[in-house]
């Protein structure tokens, strides 16, 4: 329940940010979405066993599922690389990290005025 609420909160925040204007906010949105998916993966292993899968300290009968943990560990590092890449994109350009579309885009402009 708590894990699911956390995932929901992170997804909501992430989705809100990625549809905003500006590369930095989009990047932050992706960071939150990354967190959400990582928690989801761990949740897939089950949140009812919460002992670290370190066999020198923990008995196999109570240890948490190690497989999603391995997935998430690499996912975090890759998400980091992607985050850095997106931040790089935010840092290059003409003026700032604006992502507003060109004049050909209809609809968007009206929203900006509102």
């Amino acid at each position: 329940m708590t894990l699911a609420i956390s995932v929901g909160l992170l997804v909501a925040g992430g989705v809100y940010l990625v549809v905003q204007r500006g590369m930095v906010r989009i990047t932050f949105g992706f960071v939150l979405l990354g967190h959400a998916v990582n928690l989801l993966l761990v949740s897939g292993g089950g949140a009812f066993r919460r002992e670290a899968p370190l066999m020198s300290e923990t008995d196999a009968s109570v240890a948490a599922d190690p497989l999603p943990q391995a997935f998430v560990l690499t996912a975090i590092v890759i998400a980091f690389a992607i985050t850095v890449y997106m931040l790089t994109l935010a840092g290059v350009g003409k003026r700032d990290d604006d992502t507003r579309g060109g004049p050909a885009v209809s609809g968007e402009k009206d929203e900006e005025k509102a």
């Binding site: 909501a12 925040g13 989705v15 930095v24 960071v31 899968p53 690499t74 850095v84 929203e111």
Partner: protein, 940 residues
Amino acid sequence: MVLPLVLAALTALALAAPLLDRFLGRSTGWPLAAAFLGLAALVATRAPEVLSGAGAPSFDAPWMPAVGVGFHLRLDGLALLFVSLVLVVGALVMAYSASYFSHGRHGDFYLLMTLFAAAMFGLVLADDVVLLFVFWEITTICSFFLIGRSGLSASRPAVRTLILTAAGGLALLTAVVLMWVTTGTTRLSVILEHSAWTDDPAFATAVAVLVILAAFTKSAQFPFHYWLPDAMAASTPVSAYLHAAAMVKAGIYLLMRFSPALADHAVWQTALIGFGLVTAVLGALFALQRHDLKELLAYSTVSQLGFLVAIIGVGTPAAMAAATAHTLAHALFKATLFMLVGVVDREAGSRDIRKLTGLRRVMPVTATLTGLAALSMAGVPPLLGFVSKESMFGAFLDAPGPGWVGPVVGGVAVVGAILTFAYSFRLVYGAFGGPTEQSHLREPKAAFLFPAAVASVAGLVLGLVVPLLNPLVDRVVTDTWGLVHDSDLALWHGFSTALGMSVVVLGAGTVLFLRRAWLDRVLDRSLFPVRGTEVFERLYRGTIALGARVGDLTRSDSPAQHLAMPFVLLAVLASVALSAGLAVGDFPAPVSRPMDWVLVALIAASVLGAVVARSRLAALGSIGVGGFTVALWFFTLGAPDVGLTQLLVEVLTVVVAVLVLRRLPRSFHPTGRVRRAAAAVLAIVAGGVAALATYTMTGRRELSPAADYFLTEAENETGGTNVVNTILVDFRALDTLGELTVLGIAGLVIVAVLNANGLLPNRQPTAIHRFAGSPIDSPTDATILFRTVGRWLAPLVILLSAYLLLRGHYEPGGGFISALVGGAGFALAYLSAPSSDRAPIRWPYIALIASGVGVAVLTGVAGYLEGSFLRPVHLDIPLPWGGEYHFTSALVFDVGVYLAVIGVVVTALNRLGGDSGPPGGMPRSRGASRSGRSAGKETR
């Protein structure tokens, strides 16, 4: 073996042509002509066998045996007719090209022409429908390039021709697939005898329509006729070969080839006779309107092809015999005329009959040869054109259908022939008649006239000895009609209706020629409200515009529109799934603990903070809190390795983000209320769905068998007690290697992006002026704490990271975590530097990334010692002081991970942190000067 040999020889000649051209220039045409004739002679050695009806030489080789498509060639009478056109007319045109072109290199022309000949040869011999289609397409492509090579003005005609003929090609492809599916074979000779043509009327009609479409586009039949005059942008040899003798005859060939199966089909007969005659008459009328000799010939070709299509539609043995004779006659006189018009164009500098006059006095030989060919075209005895036209007249009268059809069809054909007569004379008179103005002109060299002379005289000689053609005609009729037939082509058949029609044509044609001034006046208007090329262009532009309009629905530079789509879709899918109902299992044990709610609250606070923040830095702070909370979550859930990784990544993310944020405005761009509301709705729906899905669909079962296996067996299998780490470096090392590579590529991409685009300049914080004069204003003084601490902390951090790396197999740690700790050390060193110039870590970061991936791969290769890629190698090394050290190559693999991650971190710090130029760690390379230049741009 003759058939594949000739095909291979033609292909080899095509490839050799550019080489020959290197030494011979335009004279390459002569050896090619000789080779064509040699190959024709080679094919002729099998001709007696074909003509006697003893059988068709064939060649079979497997091509795609799995689907039953074979490389089948078959030389029957029909193929022989077209092969002789392709090779003999090809030889003449090649010889002609050797004089036509200017001195210099024409390698591409000779290559394409020979390649085209090879494709045409293959097309008429192919006994497999797939093979037939492939050759058909090659002729289309060669035609495109041969037209297009004539310069800029030819580019649109080339494209128009390509699109139209390729569209016909698609129709043929559809027909091929239909036939293949219906008959179960791709063998053409088998397909044509299949019972489906009579048993399955829908199939027969569909194939008939498709084949007609393919043939009509290729052979320029109304309403697709316009491409042929359009294609006159090509050079004269191309027109003489492709657009008179060979390529446009591919459509005729196709119709004749499918006649045995379709000749009795009403759609086939109606379409062929109807459109053929319309094309014949319209083409002739258009030809009478033209002043450009080449354009006149193009319309004349359209018209003559119309006659051929119509006569094939009649489909009787006599019609097929007439079609054979006329195909031959037309190839001879039309190739001649094209070549001679080219001669006139070369010598007199114009092809316009309003500018040319009286050339007969200065170029009598050219005039005679042109006259001879034009007489053949006009159907004047005793030329071959007369024989073929009169046999067509005879056949038209027997057109299938009710009794009135024959006379009507014959009548229309006579009208077409009268117009043909008129434009034939218009052509000759236009260029060679009247007073001589250009008296300085001379007859061209004999070599230039020779190829045209051969074809022109052949039209006369063959007319005189026309019965000699009967064996070939008989074979073609047998192949296209199905039964043996005795043809009786002859100059004189006695008094018949056909003779009467010929007389009418000659008489009326002469009258029309004599009253040419009146005729010109009558025809000096547009006969048609639209031009084909204009219709084509309108359709073309309309299609492109339609595509743009469809694309506009989703075309946007704004990432938000694209990014919103997947979430909208997910929300929709989720609501569908929810409304369908879910089977929800039970949790094996309680999954929530009271302390969790603290984490939930922290996450809620950080998400809220990130969402409402207007300042970039504030948002980053909130994001950081969220990251740390997620790390805590991992610790709580029993994932210390993951938690550590998350913690370190969060630190580094914040550091890197700060390096970028200082180049950007303080506040975010304002967004409108509508957009915020829409985003909020989407966010709440997506968040709700995600929470619901997570709650109902995850963790509601006992541990998976895989998890059980890892927990119980990991230590025995690998010697490691940290199960997560053993999964990363022992069990699923290939995944990790892949992820490592992605990481490395991300690092390289960052470098590439920054080499191509300069970073935005740093912004000076305004608030700092308040502290002017104090230590806070001085970068050196302000960092003193950092530097002092950093000096003794840095070695410790590096030691710590090495320790974490070594123990990773047993305790929390490992390559990722230790590298991130090391990276955090670098970040510390970086931030403590007084200026960005002095900050960079002078390490070759690209080499670091590369060595990381390299070490990992090499470790993987070492795994072959144990049997497979990436299998860990275990060694017990005796220590000098007693005991043993248990070595596993998984540790070396982890070193690779370490190096790659460190490389990416250092890349980010160095390249995003610098103010100008590349950091010293970058090897002196092209990239250095490029980013130096972009940095210079920023300061301007």
